[in-house]
Every structure is written in C-alpha cells, then in structure tokens.
C-alpha cells in the first residue's frame, strides 16, 4: 500500500473518501498524497477490497487526500452511481459528507443525461435523483448557507438545475409540503430548464444584449420543455414547474402571463429558488451576488414577481 508511483498530480483527480465502500472493489487504483509536495502512493489497488475497520480509519484520520487517475474518472462515476444509494443511506457517514457527495453526483449524473439529449433518459434520471435527495434530506434539513458552500456555482444548466432542485427541496420542506410533493418539486426543478437544451450555448452565455430573436428563443424554453416532457411519466405539478417557472404574480412573466394563483404553487416556489440561484451563480454576463444582496433583489419584487408568503419563508431559510 505504500508503493510510490510515477504519476504527477496533473494526471490525478481528487475523490472523497466517502465514496469508498467496504468489501466492494472499486476496479480503479486509488492513490494517496500525504502533503502538497509529496509523491502519490498506491493506497488501494483496483482489485483490492477495504474492510469496514480500514474505512473507519480512513474516514477519521486519513493523512492527506485520495486521488484516482483522470482516465479513471468515468469509471469512478459509474461506480458511484451504482452504489450511490447505499452510500447515502449509510448513517455512519457524516451527513455533510453524504450531502456533498449527493450534490456532486446529482450534478454529474444530470450532466450526462442532458448531454445524451434523450428526453426519456433525462426524465428517468430526474426521477431517481429526486427520490434519493428527498430521502437523504428528509429528516436532516441542511441550512441554505451550508448547501450553498457545498454546491458548484458555475453557469452550466445541469449545475443550475441541481442547485435549484436542492434549494426547492428545502423551501418545500419549510412550507410544509408532503414528502411526495417534495419529491415532485425536486423532479420538476431538475427538469425546469430542459427546454434550454435546444438553445445554442452562444445565446445562453452571450454577454451582450440579446437581439429580439435571441430573446424569443430564450422565452420559448418553458414551452419547449413542456412539449418535450408532456408524454413522460410526470405529474401535472411537475410539468407546471417546467411551463410556469418564469410566470410572475403580477402577470408580467412568460409564456402565458398568468397571474397569482393561476400559477401552480410548485411553479411559484421554483420561481423564487430559480432567480435566487441565478443571482448567486457566476454568469458570463455578470458576477455572482452574495446571499444578502440576492435576497434584497428578490424582496424588491415581493408580491409583484414572487409569492409573498413563499418569499418570506425563503428569506427565513437564507438568513439562518
């Protein structure tokens, strides 16, 4: 276990020790780098298994960080997906570790599904992710600030969708939605921007003012999303998240210009988390806002764009 290997840190990617499971070979060589200037050593070879006791030692006092080869990253993802549920349900692992892992895996898995452009696969992935994330956070609500620290904040649609889904889950919990409803909300939120997959990256990340035609394309995404998903096994509320998340209470939103309670409660909820996430993420056309500044922006539109009660609840969560 202590063979120094001729690999440079550039050939390696860090992994969380919580992805390792007892008695299940990873099929990938895992390396340990004890300090910044030290050489990688083979920690666990591809066909080796780790005992429960060994894993405990790893979790509690691992001297350094674990890595895998860049070329094995895909295999690791496959392993995580296969054993993800077991890891998340393992109460002996710290919740923070499991939440971090969940965030990363959700993002990765959703990225793959979006890249496939296969709407059936995308819907099935959202279903699976919604079930697992709702289960994990059911009895252990995580503070928004903690979630935000764990999350990536880049501009990719799959990152945004993952973050909106997790924020929406927390808001749904706080508003007293049932577990089934929470799961629907997460599923819908993961899919809310699916219609954007039809829009070119040039338009989505254009730093300059959008032309009328570009704006029209962007504004088409809730409709496109609904049309794509309407024949998948989704509930009405989930479809309304996709179709109505850009509607505003005062009717100034799109695509329909629905007002107040004409907008499905799930969509009113996601409208808040969607804008909050967008404001706090790095975008090519502006820098990320801090939580307080983002909240200030939202509150200026309280009862105008956003549901008053839901926004008050979100404010309470963010300020904890």
């Amino acid at each position: 276990m202590c063979d120094v290997v001729a690999l440079t840190p550039r050939e390696l990617v860090p992994i969380s020790s919580c992805v390792l499971l007892p008695d299940r070979p990873l099929g990938i060589d895992v390396y340990l780098i004890k300090a910044i200037d030290s050489k990688p050593v083979l920690f666990c070879s591809r066909d080796q298994t780790l005992s429960e006791a060994k894993l405990d030692t790893v979790a509690q006092r691992l001297p350094g960080r674990l890595y895998v080869r860049c070329s094995d990253a895909d295999r690791l993802q496959a392993y995580i997906r296969e054993h993800w549920s077991d890891i998340l349900r393992d109460d002996s692992r710290p919740l923070e570790d499991r939440t971090r892992l969940m965030c990363n895996v959700m993002r990765d898995v959703l990225a793959d599904a979006f890249a496939s452009r296969n709407i059936q696969r995308i819907a099935a992935t959202a279903d699976f992710l919604a079930a697992e994330s709702t289960r994990l956070l059911q009895d252990a609500p995580v503070a928004i600030g903690e979630l935000s620290k764990i999350m990536q904040h880049d501009f990719a649609t799959f990152t945004h969708s993952t973050n909106v889904a997790l924020y929406s889950l927390r808001l749904a919990q706080e508003l007293g939605f049932s577990t089934d409803e929470q799961q629907c909300i997460v599923r819908g939120a993961l899919l809310h921007d699916v219609g954007k997959l039809e829009i070119t990256e040039n338009i989505l990340s254009k730093p300059d003012r959008l032309t009328q035609e570009e704006l029209r394309q962007i504004r088409q995404h809730p409709t496109t999303g609904l049309e794509q998903l309407v024949d998948q096994a989704l509930t009405f509320g989930e479809l309304m998240i996709v179709y109505q998340h850009h509607e505003r209470i005062d009717g100034s939103g799109y695509p329909v210009g629905s007002v107040g309670e004409e907008i499905h409660p799930f969509a009113r909820l996601c409208a808040i988390t969607d804008v909050y996430e967008a404001l706090t993420a790095h975008r090519p056309y502006r820098r990320a806002l801090r939580a307080k500044a983002a909240m200030h922006v939202l509150q200026r539109k309280e009862g105008v764009h956003f549901d008053r009660e839901m926004l008050a609840c979100w404010k309470g969560l963010v300020e904890v």
Binding site: R216, L226, P255, V256
Partner: protein, 181 residues
Amino acid sequence: MLERAGGGMSNMISPPGEAAHETGGRQHAEPAARTAATVDDRLVVLPPELRERLEGRGYQSPVPVESRAWARLTVMREARLSMVHTPPALHSALPWPPHGRVIVKDLSRSGIGFFFHMPLFPSQQIQIQLSHYVIQAKVRRCRRHTSDCYELGAIVTQVRSSKEDRSADYMEGCASSSVRP
C-alpha cells in the same frame, strides 16, 4: 379562395352581449364557473383595448412576422372549437369543455391564431370548424389578455372541407400571399 368575414372586423369585435346575440348564442353577463366541464358556449370577449388595437391595425402579433413561414390572412370571425386530444398529464388542469366558441384572428398554411375564453396548453390537439373548413391543429402558444380572454396560436396539421373538397382552395388562398415560401 378562403372566405373572409362578411362584415369586416367590427362584426366580430363587438362589446359583451352583442357578439353572443349576433351569433345566436346565449348571453353571458357573468363568466361561467370553470368547475363545470360540460358544454360552455361562451364566446370570448375581447377586452376594449385589444379590440381597439385590432380595429386600428396597430396590433402587434406575439410572433414576429419574420419568424413566420407564411403570411397570415386576417379573419376575425367566430368558429367552433372541439377538443381532440389532451395529454393525460394535463387532464387535472382546467376542465375544458368538449366544444367551445372561438374568434379566429388569422390563419395561414401552417398556423391558426384565435381567441378563446380559457387557456390551452401547448401540445393539446384541437379542431376548429371555420365556415366549411375543418382545421386540425396543435396548440403551440397561449398568451393571457384577461382572465377570460386568451390569445392562442396553433400549428395546422390537417385541413378538410365539410362540404366538398375545398381544402385545396384553402391552401391556395394561404399560399398566394406567402412571405417566405
């Protein structure tokens, strides 16, 4: 050629009550409750400002002209709408009546624009009987003007004539004014 509304726009764009009277439909001082999925024969009432804009031709369609493949003929006349298919996941929304009355605003070879007193969802399939033409279409967009007036756009999937086969006339009528064939 496609029949145009006999008396021009003002025939159809009339204040509440008048439209119902002219077309022989029942009066509707109050909007009917949306809980009943039975026959709802209300004719959509266009809000005064929309009516004025349509009459004054200062009306801007929600879809820009340059993104249309075919020019649209202004129609502005009443027609009968039937619901053909609603995807099951959307069934728990408003209970749409099986039939209803609409005002067809315009139509082209590929699309039809109309006003209805209820919102419809993209992907719902409808049928509009306009004069002797039966137009099958799939809803593509819906925009709210008031709680009882929605402007809808649908993609025409099939045109049949309920009299003789005059769908060729329909296509010709639309094609003769194409912007971008």
